[in-house]
Symmetry: C2
Subunit: 257 residues, 2 copies
């Protein structure tokens, strides 16, 4: 008589859209003893699924960086059907991390490799008084800025360039060429917002672009952006703006899933 074999459900490729307040996370990547997005999300997947594979992420975010539309994929086994996974997961996750949507993706879907474009936003408060409710949500910089220089920079950034000036010198990147699809500064009342969409980004790229643009717009550096965008060394660009003004807004994928 054959022993009954326990039912083993088929694995499926799960695609999750996340939002988080980056303030209390030490970035994306799981690290022992530190609270990270990958660590907290992975623990939640471990609770509601029988098993899951490694987590793939569209945009690795640093400590303090926020997300409005991060995308993660992982193979999961068992657990609730995808249609209710967002609700079940959100019940397990802490208040600063939420699953906005969950769906079954094609087996070939990979949140990082399938991502075609990422959009980031950087918020700069430009009025004199601080906004305590935005203290960890926007850069506070009330110094006078030349708006025309910001626009000139944004226009220069669009296109395909060697961005090595905008990433730390000690780097894991070997290719510094990226293609920026759109980049613009928007007036939003008490703040300016920089929005940029590119195929992918170097580490600290958006923050160093913002730091360099703000320095130029304050009249403290008149280096031609075209020079910086042609493979200049890191030392030629401006400072890296702090993480708390930065948001991963959305990710676009190669094919509809």
């Amino acid at each position: 008589m054959a022993a009954a074999r326990p039912h083993r459900p088929a694995p499926l490729n799960l695609r999750l859209t996340l939002a988080y307040d980056g303030t209390r996370f030490r970035g994306w990547a799981r690290q022992p003893g530190l609270r990270t997005v990958e660590g907290v999300l992975g623990d939640a997947l471990g609770i509601i699924y029988d098993d899951h594979g490694p987590l793939h992420v569209a945009g690795r975010t640093d400590s303090g960086v926020h997300a409005l539309g991060q995308v993660v994929s992982a193979t999961v086994v068992g657990g609730p059907p995808p249609a209710v996974a967002a609700r079940v997961l959100s019940g397990v996750l802490p208040e600063d991390l939420a699953v906005l949507a969950a769906a079954e993706a094609a087996p070939s879907f990979h949140a990082r490799h399938s991502a075609h474009a990422r959009t980031y936003r950087y918020r700069v408060r430009i009025v004199r008084h601080r906004a305590p409710l935005d203290a960890r949500r926007a850069l506070y910089d009330p110094r006078r800025l030349r708006r025309d220089l910001l626009d000139r920079w944004a226009a220069a950034i669009v296109g395909t360039h060697d961005f090595r000036a905008f990433t730390p010198t000690e780097t894991q990147h070997s290719d510094f060429v990226r293609t920026v699809e759109s980049a613009q500064w928007l007036d939003r009342g008490d703040e300016l917002q920089f929005e940029i969409t590119a195929n992918r980004f170097l580490r600290h790229q958006v923050r160093t672009l913002v730091g360099s643009m703000l320095k130029a717009a304050r009249g403290e550096d008149d280096t031609d952006p075209a020079v910086l965008l042609a493979g200049a060394p890191r030392s030629a660009a401006g400072p890296t703006a702090p993480p708390w003004g930065l948001y991963l807004v959305a990710v676009r994928f190669r094919e509809p899933d």
Copy 2:
């Protein structure tokens, strides 16, 4: 020969407009060993002025309640002139508390006694998914609400009523009659916002009004608001909504200062 008398600057009555993120404050009133708005602000005044009198506040806020336009008055001696006091104080205050404006007020000005009307806002997120960046800034309540009942309640609240049903039974209030000048629910995309202006408020009044309205609008309580607004006991009203959805928005004063 007379001894030289040290110069003693004249005291002046200072009026401050404050904003704060209430999350990490244990409310307004100074308490030993706890971080409160009065305590942190008083310490800052102690640093930049030679001396100061007691702090008077237009709207005492509870733990977790935020402020966009709180008003405080205090007599101060020495220190910077009022025109630069906001900037100097903001340099001393932590990131979750800011002075938006500072000015010399008439000697008779008293932030509590001179206040003529206070406006509060309560934010309720009504869409299914949580917003991590608003976790401590709005109530999350995606349950279905009857919008018409909210409007009926708001209309009933306007006017002069005995609000004892909307404040804790153990109370320091002796007069429960308040005059509500305006009250309305506003549609703001993913959220509903309740805005109310009254001459003054009982403790927990806005939060208990909101808790009662949400309960009614979910169809869980069909008590006529007119009954509750005519001196019914606390037990007749609904629960007290949590503090983190509540904002003191603005204060109006009897005479221009």
